[in-house]
């Protein structure tokens, strides 16, 4: 479990992430390295589909830890994030005990939720708080308390504290601004869209059957499309899917430009955007294939 050489430098960490099929640039590798070494949470922000959650997964498996994911949503509350008592079992225990004394607040009656799970084994788990911008600001305050001390107080039991600081990764789509206090407490990295070369490399890593020339053409075309004012710019996952779909169509007998055009629904998933891009699609693909 212990791999000291892994996080000795940002470069070795980037290498370990590459082995997990995640290509991190220098800035991201440095930010992750610092987060692990300083014991601070890492806040990843970026447009949808640039691989924020993927990054967290890759970090967890590179470090040989399991990933505990807390998906945020509007209305999430402490019971979903911290812990809950298993009341049904408590009631049963009272029934069964009869005249005997029974401790209702034992560990066996406690249901650990993600934050608590991480507190219990900080060196074996990585906590991912996904899409924190979707939660209410009250939940953000709760999280702030957790992230500063890494402890949870249960009225019936007292305080449970992490033995040492766990690795925490937060992601946000930036649909709203996060509290300044939360940003301050975290290391920060903005994940942008990768350049064409890196994107081609990612496509080839993800789908080995796609030829290199195809991957390059897709990366070029997607980059071109993202530069246009469309409502939902395609993410990396969509680019990978597009390359894959076009390859399958080409094997089925469509010539190249035709295969790309027919697979466009995989890349752009908004009717207005499709109408906007369709007239220019031939030019974009033609330019990329050259």
């Amino acid at each position: 479990m212990d791999r000291p050489n892994l996080v000795a430098s940002p470069e070795s960490l980037a290498e370990a992430l590459a082995q997990q099929d995640y290509l991190a640039d220098e800035e991201l590798a440095t930010a992750v390295f610092l987060a692990v070494q300083l014991g601070k949470p890492l806040l990843l922000e970026g447009a949808p589909g640039v691989g924020k959650t993927e990054a967290a997964k890759a970090i967890a498996s590179a470090l040989g830890r399991s990933l505990v994911r807390l998906q945020c949503y509007e209305g999430i509350d402490a019971g979903h994030a911290l812990y809950e008592w298993n009341y049904q079992r408590q009631l049963l225990a009272i029934r069964q005990a009869g005249e005997q004394e029974v401790d209702l607040y034992e560990d066996s009656f406690l249901i650990d939720r993600p934050l608590m799970q991480v507190l219990r084994a900080p060196d074996q788990r990585v906590l991912l708080v996904d899409e924190i911008d979707r939660s209410d600001h009250e939940f953000e305050a709760l999280l702030l308390e957790f992230l500063s001390d890494f402890q949870v107080s249960i009225p019936e039991r007292g305080t449970i504290r992490a033995a040492h600081r766990p690795i925490v990764i937060l992601t946000s789509n930036r649909t709203r601004e996060l509290a300044e206090a939360l940003r301050r407490r975290c290391l920060y990295h903005w994940i942008g869209y990768p350049d064409a070369e890196r994107e081609a490399a990612i496509i080839m890593l993800r789908t080995p059957e796609v030829a290199e020339a195809t991957a390059r053409a897709v990366a070029q075309a997607v980059r071109n499309i993202r530069a246009r004012p469309i409502a939902k710019p395609p993410g990396i996952a969509e680019a990978v899917e597009w390359a894959n779909a076009a390859t399958i169509l080409e094997r089925g007998g469509s010539p190249w430009p035709e295969a790309f055009r027919r697979a466009i629904g995989v890349l752009i998933k908004d009717e207005e955007d499709l109408a906007f891009i369709r007239p220019e699609l031939d030019a974009v693909i033609g330019e990329a294939l050259r």
């Binding site: 806040l43 301050r184 290391l187």
Partner: protein, 384 residues
């Protein structure tokens, strides 16, 4: 960064650290928020990384001092200016801009004043007639508005739960305690549910010269908002930013408006919506009021000069707010189209762009805030 040594003397930071402290100070002076813990994080990060090159220091700064993507170029420029000594100009000009928002504005506005008044003169005759015709019903309308506004605001579910008798989910924790207390008996199960609370209403009223004919109506509506709700906040924006919520807490309308009149210094001046809203966002205790609130800006959107700052301010405001609405008196005209460059630019970030020309229009709109509606861009695209 604990270092060995006797505890009585405070361990002084080594002299090599000083440039980094100075850099943080420079960032603060340029409007970046750098907390002490971020600075210590920065120093520890540099230590951890080697540092083997200047690039290590840059990466450490980017990760720990957390510049947002929109301010990244500015951050890079400051970094280069400080550590490499290139492009020093950027830093000084930035500092001055921040101050100008509050200070010399009133002097500059005096020249602009008569011109803008003359512009409004032609329109005022017809506007006055309109308001006279509506005057009779306005008092009753405002009264009804005050009684209804609290229940018509958009709401959110509170994080806290309260005990309830009928609806909600079973409060197992409380019930279990009752069972233990009652020796295995439960007379009636406890229930709890999450409260539904109204969101805050934040009104930003433009009181510049071009809005002269409408400000009084706006303030009368604002007065009723403050009287009818718990947590509304009212600001006036002109060349300065003034919080008038306290003045409007006075029950009597005439007294309240008189207090506002005394409080605000920049009546009927020029319009500097962008800089004033940026000032609003820069003050944490004010900008926190916009978080999750229904934000309504009453203005004609006739920004003097460049509107990019206004666009930035509104985008940031929109990210904080639950719903961002823009009421413009110009939309009272049926031929109105969002054609000015400023309105076109801000249209994508707005949730509503509606008529704010009379008490009736304003109150009707505010009462409809709780109901969902298509975004402003979708509505106006169809019209045009």
């Amino acid at each position: 960064m604990k270092r060995g040594g006797p505890r009585t003397t405070r361990p002084a930071l080594p002299i090599e650290v000083r440039p980094f402290q100075d850099f943080a100070r420079l960032l603060r002076a340029s409007g970046f928020r750098v907390a002490p813990e971020q600075l210590t994080g920065f120093l520890r990060a540099i230590e951890l990384l080697g540092p083997r090159s200047m690039n290590d220091i840059r990466l450490a700064a980017v990760a720990t001092l957390a510049p947002g993507p929109d301010r990244r170029p500015e951050f890079e420029a400051l970094f280069d200016a400080f550590f490499y000594g290139v492009g020093q100009v950027v830093t000084t000009s930035d500092g001055e801009e921040e101050v100008q928002v509050k200070d010399d504005a009133s002097i500059a506005q005096h020249e602009a004043l008569p011109i803008e008044r003359r512009e409004g003169g032609a329109l005022s005759a017809s506007a006055e007639q309109l308001s006279k015709r509506m005057f009779e019903s306005d008092a009753g309308r405002l009264d009804r508005f005050r009684r209804e506004i609290r229940s018509r605001l958009p709401s959110r579910r509170s994080f806290r739960t309260v005990q309830s008798r009928t609806n909600g989910i079973l409060d197992l924790r409380r019930s279990l305690r009752q069972i233990v207390r009652g020796d295995g008996d439960l007379p009636a199960p406890s229930m709890r549910h999450r409260l539904i609370v109204p969101r805050r209403l934040l009104l930003l009223i433009d009181i510049s010269g071009s809005m002269k004919d409408y400000t009084q109506d706006c303030l009368r509506v604002a007065h009723q908002v403050v009287q009818g709700t718990q947590s509304a906040e009212i600001f006036t924006i002109g060349t300065r930013l003034t919080r008038v919520t306290g003045a409007l807490k006075v029950r009597n309308q005439e007294d309240a408006l008189a207090r506002v009149a005394a409080l605000v210094d920049d009546w009927d001046g020029g319009t500097r919506i962008g800089p004033t809203l940026m000032a609003f966002l820069a003050i944490p205790r004010f900008s926190a009021l916009a978080r999750g609130a229904a934000v309504v800006i009453i203005s004609d959107g006739l920004e003097r000069g460049d509107h990019t700052e206004m666009e930035t301010a509104l985008r940031r405001l929109g990210q904080r707010a639950f719903r961002l609405s823009f009421c413009t008196p110009l939309a009272g005209d049926t031929r109105f189209q969002p054609q000015t460059a400023a309105l076109k630019a801000i249209l994508p970030v707005l949730d509503d762009l509606v008529d704010g020309s009379s008490v009736a229009a304003l109150t009707d709109f505010l009462l409809s805030l709780g109901r969902p509606s298509p975004s402003a861009a979708a509505i106006w695209r169809k019209v045009s």
